[in-house]
Amino acid sequence: MDLHFTDAIADEGERAAIDGILGPPDSGWGGGKRDAQSSRQSVGGQAARGRRHLLLPALHAVQAHAGWISPGALNYLCARLTVPPAEAYGVASFYALFSTTPQPPTVVHLCDDIACKTRGADALCARLEAEFGPAGSSRTDAPTTWKRSPCLGLCDKAPAAFVQRAGPGREDFSAAPVSAEQVLATLRAPVELDLETSASDAAAERDRRPAEMDVVDEAHRPDQPARQPGISAARPAAPNASSTRSPSHPLTLSLHHCGAEPASLDEYRARGGYQALRAALEMGAPAIIRELADAKLTGRGGAAFPTSVKWKAVAEAPARPHYVVCNADESEPGTFKDRVLMERDPFAVIESFTIAGIACGAEQGYLYIRGEYPEATRQLDQAIAQARMRGLLGSDIMGRGVEFDIEIRRGGGAYICGEETALLESIEGKRGEPRNKPPFPAQEGLFGKPTAVNNVETLVNVLPILARGGPEYAATGTAQSTGTRLFCVSGCVEQPGVYEVPYGLSLRELLRLAGGVTASNALQAVLLGGAAGAFVRPDELDIPLTLEGARAAGATLGSGVVMVFDDTVDIQAVVVRIAAFFRDESCGQCVPCRVGTVRQEEALRRLVAGSAHPEQEIALLGELDQVMRDASICGLGQTASTAILSAIHRLGLFQGGAR
């Protein structure tokens, strides 16, 4: 609680980085110059702590400047915000993208999660270990190092890398697919990489790109001459109208903008953008919410909660102000649809988020985006700036006197922050530890005020609903699952990517759209719904992809993950990786999850190693599942065993089935 500072002093650059977020200090007590005035009074308290929510942005600034959060920088930041340094250290050390020990300015985060595993991530990591050294190993004065990473949301282009870079003008970027040669070249000879992809390369890319809407990087493929050694940045596809091959289904979503230049507001408007916002301003909040209710829109983040109910609760809450939060912290392994939406259609995200603000009576929206999504962040940043300039955000939207603005908050690399209350904690500048519910965010959310938290895909669905009316939207799909759904197809398929299909299509049809199993190998299993989802067998492919259909089959659509494993994949290794993922990402707040995820991984490793009593281990896994399901605070612990047990019970893993 107290402000116990160490003697460490921030250097000029660290101060400048922090002042860039907080503004210059106003007195000697905030780390400024001691003068006669500041020896006689100081101002702080509630006002200073009220800016606690700037802790994470400031930590990002320091990390981006120095490559780590030094004790001196932490002291200065804490003096400015009157946050105890011990507590701020607890925050900084919670997030994977912040380092509280010195590390090289360039860190290559290499995904070794399940989707990348199907595309050679293990071999890639093994080569790096052999030729560069184990993950994280590097002298602190070396210019580079590498780390293993959980899913980076680039599963369609696996294997993926995220390059975190500190120093002036050095931005983070993602790249996929990457080869061992590229990563090694980057690690050994870090040069200022050219972030721009030349037009000719883009054109070459376009010609051979699978004609899906999947975001494609411009990384050098093995069959192309590399312009330079090392990894270069993944960039969204250049405009290519002809490439938006509709999967022969009626598109209700605004993804049809995807072929356009995502950075152009004019082009977005030319294609009908911002008509929904104009309609929303005409309709007013109750009518908007009525349309959503008619459309039976449900949340696309995984929980499938009726959006109209959530918005209505916030809109009618007496406490003020209200907030809306866009959950763009897409971290469920195998999920990348929101990234695609943000990179390819940022204005649709902003427009629908603005409508959410109007419907919920909020004047401030926070868009919490995954820290590993640098390109989506850049796209949204510039889109928000344009929207502000054109009066589509700000104090007088479309000249109607309505106020709404959006602030982007970048996550720090923590899966748990996708849980909505952990996300709120994170925006408030704290460790991303989920809250007990109730109260629900609609009652007491961000800063204790009524808050609507919505996933990116959910928001974007508001646009077709307002454009065509709720009932017409509801005509697509089934009675209970209306509209279309984005599925993230990855793993062993010919054409991985984001597929927008109406609810009701069967899993088999979806796989057919994606070109079927790679190299016509035999299908072994499909992971439906993500790491918190369930495995299904090849004989279960007629599961209808609807909320109720998945539920009836004992599975879930979750965040729309459809990850395909052919018979060359070691499912045991996949399951262990899922267990390791949950062990790593458990926030540690509640015991069942903190301990349960560790015990679960241990039991699985014993099983893989050939346990003498597999039936005992499986019984233990069942008990752990029960305890975590019953007693964990949030969904992470409650579903940490779901996929693993489904592999055992549905696929027969460790019982003679699967491998």
């Binding site: 609680m1 107290d2 402000l3 007590w29 001691r34 005035q37 020896s39 006689r40 009074q41 100081s42 101002v43 702080g44 308290g45 509630q46 006002a47 009157t82």
Partner: protein, 526 residues
């Protein structure tokens, strides 16, 4: 809103401060008025760094600003206070500019305090020794009471005037009559004949209807040769008195000195007879009363070591030797006698104290839940139930007695640190990683001005004595202000420096304001 005026509660009252922090977390504003920017001030919405001893000037300026801004509670003033006109006239000269010039606090900070305090829905005014260890201590307290009355911040739940007590049972000591002018339950010895009669009937001895001497008067009486026998229970005056050398000289001149304590204090070493006592918090039964007037049970957990005995046993035996057989009363029997004599404790049986987890007085009978706040009568609409008016008191500003000069240019103030207590009798026995021994704390600017390095031992000279201590830099101090504790009198007796200028009304010495200079012991080679 909470005002800590002359209080570093974070370090001196850590348990109380936890409650302050709870209030802060639920949105309360905190103002801290203190010459030093203390660890309490770090939590404050605003800290006002006034010059030592200018509290009355600051209060009067705040009052004038409240009155001129139309923020005074006229209804409360008219219904429940007296002396407003005179008071208002007395603060009239204290414009913000004059207040700023005298106190050193910027005018906008004074204005902010005035407006926030007056506009607060509920406000607590808390103070400690920063207010009372001055030669005009009572006037200092009165000037804070004035502010509360001016705004009607008394007699309502969540409002009030809160002197924070230095020990868990200081309040209880006064309540039980360990003050020279009151019988237990604050019944006046001179004025309350009915109370005297009740005590005389219960005790079978006459009660002399005269006030006794308080501590400072006792030392004066020693000096005059009128007091030559002293029985000291749980005090260490040899080290806790201002102008310590003089105090020890007087103690040495006594004919007979008895000390009853749980430690062998410096005073005990001078004593003719020492009664080793048991530790009240774990080796005896009884009650304590904390700052919020809450009486709580204390239970015996351990037998006292060696020949140490319960205070009650020692006193009963002593009475027997002096010819009064009190028997061997238990703590509860003594308490029940008190309840029969002190109306405000009447309803507090041990059973009820246990069941309710303590009761705040007054508690007049066994159906009375106690009182969470006092003086609620002032808000009664009926004039007779409202009772006597609360007086506003015009108080003049008087700076510290020990004036700064070219010879003594630095203002030394004293206080506590979190992990030590007073003269260290109770805390010196255990180690603390945060305890660095006595230091002379200086601002970094003064360190440069006097060319002394951190850690360098210097001589500190006042008009009464000189001591040596190492220098420590504290950025919470401004140029011209120095700070020391009184925790390590065996090593560095800070009270050799302090002035024994005492407040004639309360008898408290001016520990908080000493003029000093620093002398280097070794000239540093250039």
């Amino acid at each position: 809103m909470i005002v800590l005026w002359g209080s570093n509660a974070r370090e001196a009252h850590p348990i109380f401060f936890h409650h302050v922090l709870k209030a802060i977390r639920s949105g309360a504003k905190l103002y801290v008025v203190d010459p030093r920017r203390t660890s309490s001030a770090e939590w404050a919405d605003r800290w006002l760094g006034l010059d030592v001893g200018t509290d009355i000037a600051l209060s009067n300026t705040v009052a004038r600003e409240i009155i001129h801004a139309g923020l005074a509670n006229r209804t409360f003033i008219e219904n429940a206070t007296s002396g407003y006109a005179e008071y208002a006239a007395s603060v009239e000269p204290w414009t913000l500019d004059r207040g700023a010039a005298v106190t050193g606090v910027p005018a906008d900070a004074i204005r902010a305090l005035a407006h926030d305090y007056a506009r607060a829905d509920r406000a607590q005014m808390c103070w400690t020794l920063g207010i009372t260890e001055h030669h005009n201590a009572v006037d200092n307290v009165l000037c804070l009471i004035n502010l509360a009355l001016l705004c009607g911040h008394v007699g309502r739940w969540g409002c009030g005037l809160t002197p924070l007590r230095g020990q868990n049972n200081v309040q209880g000591g006064g309540d039980m009559g360990a003050i020279p002018n009151k019988l237990p339950g604050f019944q006046d010895i001179e004025e309350d004949a009915g109370a005297r009669a009740r005590f005389e009937a219960a005790w079978g001895v006459p009660i002399i209807p005269e006030y006794g001497w308080h501590l400072t008067q006792m030392f004066a009486a020693m000096e005059r040769g009128e007091l030559n026998t002293l029985y000291v229970i749980g005090e260490n005056p040899a080290q806790s008195e201002a102008d310590g050398r003089h105090a020890r000289h007087l103690l040495e001149g006594l004919d007979f000195l008895v000390v009853q304590d749980i430690f062998r204090t410096k005073t005990a070493e001078m004593a003719d007879v020492v009664f080793p006592a048991s530790a009240a918090w774990c080796e005896s039964e009884g009650t304590v009363t904390n700052s919020e007037r809450r009486v709580q049970r204390v239970r015996k957990a351990l037998d006292a070591p060696g020949g140490a005995r319960d205070d009650l046993d020692i006193l009963s035996d002593l009475a027997l030797r002096l010819g009064h057989d009190w028997g061997r009363p238990t703590a509860e029997q003594v308490w029940d006698e008190l309840r029969s004599l002190s109306p405000m404790h009447a309803g507090m049986s041990y059973a009820r104290l246990e069941a309710l987890g303590g009761i705040a007085w007054p508690c007049y009978d066994e159906s009375d839940p106690g009182a969470t706040f006092l003086h609620g009568r002032l808000w009664e609409t009926d004039e007779t139930t409202r009772g006597p008016r609360a007086p506003l008191s015009a108080v003049g500003d008087e700076g510290p007695r020990d004036l700064l000069s070219n010879e003594y240019p630095l203002r030394l103030t004293t206080g506590r640190r979190l992990d030590s207590f007073n003269t260290g009798v109770q805390t010196g026995a255990f180690a603390s990683p945060m305890r660095n021994g006595e230091t002379l704390d200086l601002s970094p600017e003064d360190g440069a001005r006097f060319n002394v390095a951190a850690g360098e031992t210097v001589r500190i000279v006042s008009r009464r004595g000189c001591i040596e201590a190492p220098v420590r830099y504290d950025a919470g101090l401004r140029p011209g202000l120095a700070f020391m504790t009184m925790h390590f009198p065996d090593d560095v007796d800070v009270n050799d420096l302090t002035i024994d200028a005492t407040d004639p009304k309360s008898g408290t010495a001016e520990f908080k304001a000493t003029a000093i200079r620093i002398e280097r012991l070794v000239e540093r080679s250039q």
